[in-house]
Symmetry: C2
Subunit: 217 residues, 2 copies
């Protein structure tokens, strides 16, 4: 069983998509153990409680440095024997001690087709504002493993969506969520929990169902 | 009638897609007037002749500077009263005198979803090599107006395609051509010839069929 923790800062619609998929039985090898927020009032904590998942509040202000926060968060998750960490709109930069402890076991969702519109400064609505400003006709979302860079880790899944000529950043954000994010993130957790994601350098190979790693060339 | 010139350096599969669409009657408001190549042996010139389109060979070695080449090319096309210039794998950097003479009337096809994998050094197979190296799961193609930057002009059309885990740069290049480039480029020429592409700052608005510009807000 893959023990999953979800880190969030906001409303948690991606968390809800995960919990719905889990409750719906689509990821029998995953167990959602806890949801952690750096913001006390994050609605995501309510969503966790409603689903019977432990809801934890870990504010950054309690810690002097980003690394101390990273260590506290790491310890919190290690106590709970977490196998997979899902970032679902977590607006704290994760320090090295955390990234290293969960190397290859942290996944993030980003609302664009990486490498477009990603990196420092690209988060939330800003991503969609920039896409519309550049005048692209296609955008999408990306689930990727987290490394020590920003949005630079190996890509697990991507899905494209057409931009509508009348889109505002808000309508585009919603469509990218509905058509891409809410589908990709549960799918990525399912694949991880089934042991089907294999990082090969900077690429992620998705192993076929019912094949163990050793069966694949 | 929109008088079209196509500039090519190589085999001209995109040119062929254009000629096929034109001969098939899908762009009644376009007329393909000439094809220009900087390489004498470009097979694209044969394709032009077979379609009854003037085939012109304009080598760069005849000219001392890039600007002189740009002026010669400009004059060649202006003599033929060209309205639209299509770059279909033309590997000469177009100098300012040319770009300025055909401002807003030059379109290019690029084998990625701009702004991913574009700019200096990204052309041909190199684009697909880089996409595979980065491990993206979705790529595609972009038709855009040409400005004085590299791949920086307003985007007209984009189309996405999934990457297959077994893709090599060559198989990916072919699929991007078949699924994206050969569809997007004729569509863009058709829209241009129908007067339906409106550049608004850095965005291209596609006007609805049978609406004149003044009917659209």
């Amino acid at each position: 069983m893959t023990r999953v923790a979800v880190l969030v800062s906001g409303g948690g619609t991606n968390l809800q998509a995960l919990l719905d998929a889990w409750k719906g039985g689509t990821m029998p090898k995953a167990e959602f153990v806890c949801v952690v927020s750096n913001r006390k009032k994050a609605y995501a904590l309510e969503r966790a409680k409603k689903a019977g998942v432990e809801a934890l509040y870990l504010p950054t202000v309690r810690y002097k440095t980003n690394d101390e926060y990273a260590i506290a968060l790491r310890d919190l998750l290690q106590e709970r024997k977490i196998d997979l960490v899902v970032l679902a709109g977590f607006l704290v930069v994760l320090g090295k001690p955390f990234i290293q402890a969960f190397q290859g076991r942290i996944i993030n969702i980003h609302p664009s087709l990486i490498p477009s519109f990603c990196g420092n400064g690209f988060y939330g609505l800003k991503v969609h504002e920039e896409a519309l400003k550049r005048g692209v006709k296609v955008t999408g979302a990306t689930v990727h493993f987290v490394d020590e860079g920003t949005d630079s880790g190996p890509i697990i899944l991507q899905k494209a969506v057409d931009i509508d000529p009348e889109d505002t950043p808000e309508t585009l954000q919603l469509r990218v969520m509905q058509n891409c994010e809410w589908k990709l993130l549960p799918e990525a957790v399912r694949l991880f929990s089934e042991g089907r994601l294999k990082i090969e350098g900077h690429r992620v190979r998705i192993l076929k169902e019912d094949l163990k790693e050793e069966d694949v060339q």
